[in-house]
Amino acid sequence: MSISLAWSDAVTAAQLFAVDPVGTGGVLLRSRAGPVRDRWLVTLRAALPPDQPYRNLPLHIADGRLLGGLDLSATLLAGRPVAERGLLAEADGGVLVVAMAERMQASTNVYLTAAMDAQETAVERDGLSLRMPARFGVVALDEGLEDEFAPAGLRDRLGFHLDLDQFAWRDTEDFPVQLDDIIAARARLAGIKVGREQIEAICTAAAALGIISLRAPLLAIRAARASAALFDRVTIEQDDITLAARLVLAPRAMVFPQSDQPDEAEPPPPEPPPEDNSEDNNDQEQQTPDIDRALDEVILAAVKAAMPPGVLEALRASAGRARARSAGKAGELQKSKKRGRPTGSVRGELRDGSKLNVIETLRAAAPWQPLRRRQAEGRPGSAPRILVEKDDFRIARFKQRTETITIFVVDASGSAALHRLAEAKGAVELLLADCYVRRDQVAMIAFRGSIAEILLPPTRSLARAKRSLAGLPGGGGTPLAAGLDAAFMLADSIKRKGQTPTVIVLTDGRANIARDGAPGRPQAEEDAKASARQFRVAAINSVVIDMSPRPGPQAESFAKEMDARYLPMPHADATVLAKAVTAATRAG
């Protein structure tokens, strides 16, 4: 999904972001960690005033640290609640760098985007009610591989999307940024107006590129404004707009723009990238903009130039899958200290994320007050009103039900495939319709030919399941081993997140494609058995449902290897399946 981009463009994006961090939202930096990314970040750092905040947002930040809350040591010392500023409020007026944005917890994303929208944080926790300004720009470091992406809600709010993986170290160079230029540009920013026809052109171009979100044209306008300010222009000019289109609109494009003149699309469009170097940019006024062409066409041409053909398939696929990723759920297990139903309190230490039960703590401290007061009298400094010691701390305990995720593994091979798929799909939808009551999730993997494919990543959205499972293909060989391997990997990753997987395998057990993709029954069965044993070792709750008209011994023997329940259901339909699955998850 690379957008071909000059290093100078990437650097210009850094400067535009530095000129208007809040307005342009931020930068999505899709790149592996490495010298190229570091070089870009160094350039950005040089463009930002050193006296303004530049904070890092780590992956597993506690909600309290992010939003702010009670500063316990200060509170106990002062005898009244003392608030601690959260990271979002600390970043006010500066830049927040989000590490590993592709693995970000769903809750962190919600707080971050809410703060970006409101430009302030509202805290309602620990007996505090605070509003604090939080105007900042975001740099999201996205190290995702193929199908891992930063949350869609966050990406939508970030103006610039850069892919640095396309640059080799030798393609890059140090770029001297004059901080004074940036500061001067910031001062000019407010005075720059956008013309009505310019707004229209950007909106038209965005629509032609299939960009649905209205944030995109808005962010493009702000980028254009920042560009005009940076290059010391009084009004926004065509160069500013084409630059904004390349940096903001091109990476979001979902369709190739429809062109009226196909002959024009072939040769590279007339605008060479104008901002090769900000220093001598003022000398570049020699290029006369093509006045005859409507501005939106100029924008489209600029976007096209930045988009090599074939990139759109990848783009579309990534957008589809990124949604699946939008609710990363790392660290579900630790939450039990903070949420759920309270179930009493226990003596303990105040560690990250644990919640003090104040009344119990005070009760514990009460009998010792006269004694402690006498001891404290000799010490220098004024004694706090209440002497609470570490031993008094009582930590609230919460009970949280773990989420169950049901993984359907469907054999989509052979002639019965379509029937099996259709009923499995029906069962998935029935379960989802029912499972929002229990807040559980469902996933679906299908295997056929020589591969297994995750058709539906874990979700509780019925809408998404419907879309993902429309029009499934069937037929071909039976790579049972590949299907089981894929299911095991998914189940294992679910377990690591503290959720409970249940695997439902729909097959007749007649494997005929080995793990390496080669046909041949004996090897295929051997591989499938080996894959099945992983489930037994990891003690994953699983069920094998044999839907063939005459259930045979093969499926039953696999169930044994997996330590799964075996259910022969020759005439099962969606409703029966869903019931069987519900029974299985309850039991497990």
């Binding site: 509170t75 005898g79 009244r80 609640p81 769903a106 809750s107 919600v110 707080y111 809410a114 430009q119 302030e120 509202a122 309602e124 926790r125 620990d126 007996g127 505090l128 009610s129 509003r131 869609a152 809600g153 407010a190 107006k193 707004i199 229209e200 909106c203 038209t204 965005a206 629509a207 649905i212 979100s213 209205l214 944030r215 808005l218 949604r323 939008s326 609710a327 949420r339 139903r341 919640k355 104040v358 009344i359 005070l362 009103r385 209440i386 029906g426 939808e429 029935l430 989802l432 319709a433 929002y436 009551v437 807040r439 979700t459 509780r460 959205s461 019925l462 809408a463 419907k466 969606a574």
Partner: protein, 340 residues
């Protein structure tokens, strides 16, 4: 508070705007749930509503926004005050209280006042968000991601109109009647049916898809962000007009009559759709009446029912996951069947 985009300047989104206005005219209609695309202006509309609403009368110094005209519903403190003569009143903005996703239980229901507990060793109650939202709106952004135990709590209070606090040695009850407003993106998960049912109306929000509309949205947004003072000034007349409309509609509401024929149609519509319980019919009637009041009509007609039925009923249909037609389509079908 940051400056808010004016309600009347919101382009399109007619269904959502109408639902919010109706909720403002008759709080008994119940809340509004707006589900839809990212960046379509759901939160903007809700925050804009807060700035638009006409002021309300409260007892001065009351932590629960008691209504001076309804002494029988006073909280304990106001009852005490009322014994010593007439209570002082004031006009204040209708509260629109945010329930942030990360809110802790103690802040929602209220809890022990930490400061007084630590400083003086006293047991005192500090009211939470539910107390602040009394007689106003409680707004949940990303309602579908709200923690389950908070949802349970809201359901209980929304049903009884009263917040009962039994925690940390406190035993307090105070009135908490509020209009729930929720927004969310269906891609991120469904809402629990129990909570869904508490919302009087639900609307589907889509990003505008016609070019002129999109341009207008971006243009106004840009104008607002470039110079919010001038923008607010430009729209202040429209805002005042709309505010007057709400006030007048509120006054007219008791005079709007619902003929038996309309009641029958509403009942038939709900039967055709197979909605659970009577809540659907009640909401439909109340919403249609508020709509009539808004439009200076004295009698509820088929036209009012037809226009408001999708919002009032679409989230109450029994789910049939194997039927691919969306709820809106099913409501439309039933409407066509009954109204011809």
């Amino acid at each position: 508070m940051a400056t808010v985009f004016p309600f009347s300047a919101i382009v399109g989104q007619e269904e959502m705007k109408l639902a919010l206005l109706i909720a403002a005219i008759d709080q008994k209609v119940g809340g509004v749930l707006a589900f839809g695309d990212r960046g379509a202006g759901k939160s903007t509309a809700v925050r804009a509503l807060a700035a638009l609403l006409p002021k309300m009368k409260v007892v001065v110094g009351c932590r629960y926004n008691c209504d001076p005209d309804l002494p029988e519903r006073f909280c304990e403190e106001c009852k005490e005050k009322a014994k010593h003569g007439k209570v002082k009143t004031a006009q204040v903005l209708v509260p629109v209280v945010d329930l942030p996703l990360g809110a802790t239980e103690d802040r929602v229901v209220g809890a022990l006042d930490l400061e007084r507990a630590l400083a003086k060793g006293e047991k005192a109650f500090e009211p939470g968000l539910l107390a602040r939202a009394h007689r106003g709106f409680l707004y949940i952004d990303e309602a579908n991601l709200l923690e389950d135990h908070l949802v349970d709590l809201l359901l209980d209070v929304a049903a009884s109109g009263e917040n009962v606090v039994e925690r940390e040695g406190l035993s307090i009850r105070h009135p908490a009647r509020f209009v729930l407003v929720g927004t969310g993106n269906p891609e991120e998960g469904e809402l629990r049916p129990q909570l869904l049912d508490r919302f009087g109306m639900s609307v589907e929000v889509k990003t505008p898809d016609t070019l002129p509309e999109r341009i207008e949205v971006v243009r106004r947004r840009d104008a607002f962000e470039s110079d919010s003072t001038a923008f607010l000034e430009d729209w202040s007349k429209e805002e005042a007009k709309l505010r007057r409309k709400i006030t007048q509609a509120k006054d007219r509401l008791p005079d709007v009559s619902v003929p038996d024929a309309a009641l029958e149609r509403a009942a038939r519509l709900c039967m055709t759709l197979g909605t659970d319980g009577l809540r659907g019919e009640l909401t439909l009637m109340r919403a249609a009446r508020a709509l009539a009041a808004l439009e200076h009509d004295k009698i509820v007609t088929d036209d009012h029912l037809k226009r408001i039925a999708p919002s009032a009923l679409r989230h109450r249909l029994r789910r049939n996951p194997l039927d691919d037609a969306g709820s809106s389509v099913r409501v439309d079908r039933a409407l066509a069947e009954i109204f011809g």
